[in-house]
């Protein structure tokens, strides 16, 4: 049994490309060419150079001593927050912008929730001199204002998505509609392991650098390239996919995928897709999603814009469905508390999305000698306005 994608674009029964004909030529072209392009030696060389000199890779693997003492286990942090632009998202946008250039595309579109993918896309577009349009839900534009300013300074046009819940799902709908209307010159840089095949696999491959480095770093620091567990937050699932990738077939390594429970899993205001979701189609992929009996997509909720999504990538749907990954749900409050714990104990302010991964430590039982890697997907500068509101409650 493999947990990787099959030649038809499926992880088990999840994945595929359920798209209208208007998207077919672009998606079909990507399906046929993405691997060939991305593994060409000159492509790899240019990408690796940029990841090293521009992004700052490899990102450190840091042994969090005080946190380890608190949770009585060996905790290592994979520092994706130290990447240029402040999160793992740039691993994917560097890869996709090079791909877009190879495909001869001139115009780049993207969706964004927390604004990290939007910033990472605007950044590589500035770097390559390409036009950049980012769709972002109106609510997210408000709650992630610093990233909106960054995108604008970088020269991107930020277009508000005003339909539905005005968050990530709706921004993705608008980006898809843009692509339908601009099929020739435009490449759509999807920001997570979601969307029609080949996006989930392509984005996972670009993010796989996380676990590739992790292996070597663990070997060096602990003598063993395998950790006991890897914890990552899951919006669409790209940072988790990158952190899991090179361990997919290694079942000794436990995967913990942390979802946002918002005000509580059954509060009616949640984004805990693996618990609340069922099989269906969202954004061109057959996966787990939150929906009514009638197949209408339910509007999710999380304080964290990057996790406020009613689906998960098909790779994770399969991992969870098959029992290979364990899904843990974390509420807004638990995440906020974890953000303050990490900040006060290690001097690292995490993104609100990432804080969910740390909150999972409260819910897991690890042995003292266990090596646990948390993928520190991003930094919290963008979330200061939210954190500030909670100084009184958690900052004491």
């Amino acid at each position: 049994m493999t947990y990787n994608i099959n030649e038809k674009g499926y992880y088990g029964e999840f994945g595929g490309a359920f798209i209208p004909e208007m998207l077919y030529p672009n998606v079909d072209n990507l399906q046929k060419s993405y691997k060939e392009i991305m593994y060409q030696p000159d492509f790899q060389e240019e990408m690796k150079q940029l990841l090293k000199d521009y992004v700052g890779r490899p990102s450190p693997l840091y042994f969090a001593k005080r946190l380890s003492e608190k949770y009585k286990t060996q905790i290592y942090l994979k520092r994706e927050d130290l990447n240029h632009t402040g999160s793992h998202k740039i691993n994917n946008t560097i890869g996709q912008i090079l791909l877009a250039k190879k495909l001869g595309k001139k115009r780049i579109i993207a969706e964004t929730g927390a604004g990290q993918h939007g910033v990472a896309t605007a950044t590589v577009c500035a770097l390559m001199g390409m036009e950049c349009i980012v769709y972002m839900g109106s609510i997210d534009i408000e709650r992630q204002a610093p990233n909106v300013s960054r995108m604008k300074m970088l020269g991107a046009k930020v277009i508000p998505a005003t339909s539905g819940s005005q968050t990530l799902k709706d921004a993705t709908n608008e980006a898809i509609r843009d692509w339908i209307q601009h099929p020739v010159e435009t490449h759509y840089i999807i920001g997570s392991v979601v969307g029609p095949h080949p996006y989930p696999d392509m984005v996972a491959r670009f993010q796989a650098v996380i676990s590739e480095e992790m292996k070597a770093q663990l070997k060096e620091q602990t003598g063993n390239e395998n950790p006991n567990a890897i914890i990552a937050c899951v919006g669409g699932g790209s940072n988790a996919a990158g952190a899991f990738y090179h361990y997919l077939e290694n079942e000794e390594v436990q995967f913990i995928a942390v979802e946002a429970a918002g005000h509580g899993i059954h509060s009616g205001e949640s984004a805990a897709t693996s618990v609340l979701g069922s099989k269906g189609i969202i954004h061109g992929s057959r996966t787990l999603l939150m929906q009514t009996e009638d197949g209408q997509i339910i509007e999710p909720y999380s304080l964290s814009a990057g996790l406020d999504y009613p689906g998960i990538g098909p790779m994770h749907a399969n991992l969870i469905h098959a029992g290979r990954a364990e899904a843990v749900s974390v509420t807004d409050e638990e995440a906020l508390e974890a953000a303050f714990v990490l900040t006060r104990m290690e001097g690292i302010i995490p993104a609100l999305e990432t804080a969910h991964a740390f909150a999972a430590l409260e819910k897991m039982k690890f042995k003292t000698q266990d090596v646990v890697v948390i993928n520190l997907s991003g930094r919290g500068d963008k979330d200061l306005a939210t954190y500030k509101k909670h100084f009184e409650t958690y900052g004491k």
Binding site: Y24, Q181, G295
Partner: protein
């Protein structure tokens, strides 16, 4: 029982007027009424939109009408009830258009049986992949005498158009332009070249042109290059005008399209 879509194409090969509307809009129980009025006013074919929360391929007009319909309480069970009630009075072929997730959640088999029971003649599911159609849907649809219609766009390759022609049992929906519904205006020479390219391919399927067809002029132009054309967003805007006047809105709108130039 004969399929009404087959019968239509036997009878009429030119100037087929296909009207799209969203079920449950403007009012929850307008569906049957709109169908009967459309038939009376002279529509040849009726496409019933099954409102969806996240209609990827649709523009603002259809999105909004779908949201109103959902807020009104529209759902598939109700839709099938509404159509069943009038099915004996309707001679116009009925096509249901929606997204695959709706069909999956309702249950593929149950959905198709319900279509048959309520007199639905065909389906348009823009996000149904051809291979999934062949493996999971084709036999079911054929057994129940329901036709499938696929879309093509200016970017669809000739090879794929032939494949789509082979698989279509209803008509080929020629998407007039790179567009979501309700967008473009008028028909350009570039579009005409595209229609002519399709015509030279000698496809077996009947062809209807849609997306951006909004008035008598664009309808008549489109009809020169296909068996007919499809109007959606423009009709929905007409229904919005005065929501109490559904009958008048329908007959005025269809009248404006069919008036002789």
């Amino acid at each position: 029982m004969e399929n009404k879509l087959d019968q239509l194409f036997q009878k009429k090969q030119k100037n087929i007027l296909n009207i799209y509307f969203t079920a449950g809009f403007p009012n929850l129980n307008d569906t049957g009424h709109i169908i009967l009025e459309l038939e009376k006013a002279g529509a040849d074919l009726i496409e019933i939109g099954m409102p969806y929360s996240d209609p990827m391929a649709d523009g603002p007009t259809i999105q909004e009408s779908g949201q109103v319909a959902l807020d009104n309480g529209m759902n598939l069970n109700l839709l099938f009830d509404q159509i069943s009630t009038i099915k004996d009075k309707v001679n116009t072929p009925l096509i249901c258009m929606g997204y695959l997730n709706q069909v999956m959640q309702f249950g593929e088999i149950k959905f198709i049986e319900k279509c048959k029971e309520s007199g639905v003649d065909g389906l348009i599911l823009p996000d149904l992949p051809l291979d999934v159609y062949e493996s999971d849907y084709k036999n079911l649809l054929d057994e129940n005498n329901i036709r499938i219609c696929f879309l093509i766009t200016p970017q669809t390759s000739d090879e794929r158009i032939h494949e789509i022609d082979r698989l279509s049992s209803g008509f080929i929906y020629i998407v007039a332009d790179a567009a979501i519904t309700g967008n473009s205006k008028g028909i350009s020479t570039k579009q005409i070249e595209y229609f002519e390219r399709i015509n030279k391919m000698n496809l077996k399927s009947k062809k209807l042109i849609g997306f951006g067809i909004s008035d008598a002029q664009s309808f008549n132009t489109a009809c020169q290059y296909a068996n007919g054309a499809i109007i959606g967003s423009a009709f929905i805007r007409a229904l919005k005008d005065d929501q109490q006047q559904v009958s008048e809105n329908v007959s005025n709108f269809i009248g404006s399209i069919l008036e002789k130039v």
